[in-house]
């Protein structure tokens, strides 16, 4: 992973928020993930295979997901199932969109969703992981990228 790779993921994430909510998200400075867990209330995980191998996950709060889901559906209230579904869809969209940079040999899995604050998300030990903090409105989302 290098700076260019990180930019692909930042651009993909920022674009997601702009297209879906019409409001900009901002990316903080990426950092190397250490042993400190990076897990919020809902996490969507995508496995990567093909030209690059590894995992990508998006983790955020129920409040953020609920706010985005209300925008998408134009509703005043949304259910837990919609919130859970949405975190997987965000992870899927961000990962799928970076194929514009990496090409079609960047294969993504269907999302796996983890509900609740797990101890941490297991990532391959032998690959360095980067954390990209994202802010949208007053909400925080972390994108964790672990790619060979």
């Amino acid at each position: 992973m290098n700076e260019t790779d990180l930019h692909f993921f930042i651009d993909s994430t920022v674009n997601y928020f702009e297209e879906v909510t019409n409001e900009k998200a901002t990316a903080g400075i990426p950092y190397i993930k250490d042993n400190e867990p990076v897990v919020l209330e809902y996490t969507g995980i995508i496995g990567i295979s093909g030209k690059r191998k590894g995992s990508i996950y998006v983790t955020t709060s129920e409040n953020m997901l609920s706010t985005i889901a209300k925008v998408i559906l134009g509703l005043k209230e949304v259910g837990k199932e919609d919130i859970k579904d949405l975190v997987g869809e965000i992870a899927n969209t961000i990962s799928g969109n970076v194929r514009q940079a990496y090409g079609s040999d960047f294969m993504i899995s269907v999302p796996v969703v983890v509900e609740g604050k797990a101890k941490d998300i297991k990532l391959p030990d032998n690959i360095q992981s980067f954390v990209i903090p994202i802010t949208w409105k007053d909400f925080k989302l972390f994108l964790v990228v672990c790619l060979e």
Binding site: Y16, G74, D82, N92, N97, V110
Partner: protein, 122 residues
């Protein structure tokens, strides 16, 4: 009286299925089926014989491009709009080459969805 367009929505995300339904509701459509994976999609397709399908690619069981080919074997006149996060050019070209009439990358705005759908119906 002109018959409504029979629409089927295929996506493993429930929120995307709901969003597509909501944003297309002003068209003269009847949503005859939805599916959350490729296997169910083919079963529902055979039962409901839709005129138009919105079809995701990354799905459990059977991927969307395989589903696309199978649907066209069953009914070569069905109009299929691929709606996917796999937004690279080669995936778009592959979908069109396999017989999709339209390709809409996610994330999409309601306006982009409606204009793609309108062109599909023309």
């Amino acid at each position: 009286m002109k018959e409504k367009v029979k629409l089927m929505i295929v996506d493993d995300s429930a929120i995307i299925r709901q969003a597509i339904h909501k944003h297309l509701k002003d068209f003269d459509i009847d949503v005859v089926g939805t599916a959350e994976d490729g296997k169910v999609a083919l079963e529902v397709f055979e039962k409901t014989n839709p005129d138009v399908v919105t079809l995701d690619i990354t799905m459990p069981e059977i991927d969307g491009l395989t589903v696309l080919e199978e649907m066209l074997k069953i009914n070569q006149n069905v109009k299929i709009m691929v709606v996917t996060a796999l937004s690279d050019k080669s995936t778009g070209l592959k979908a069109i080459k396999l017989g999709a009439k339209s390709f809409l990358p996610k994330p999409f705005t309601p306006e982009k969805l409606r204009s793609s759908f309108e062109r599909l119906l023309d």
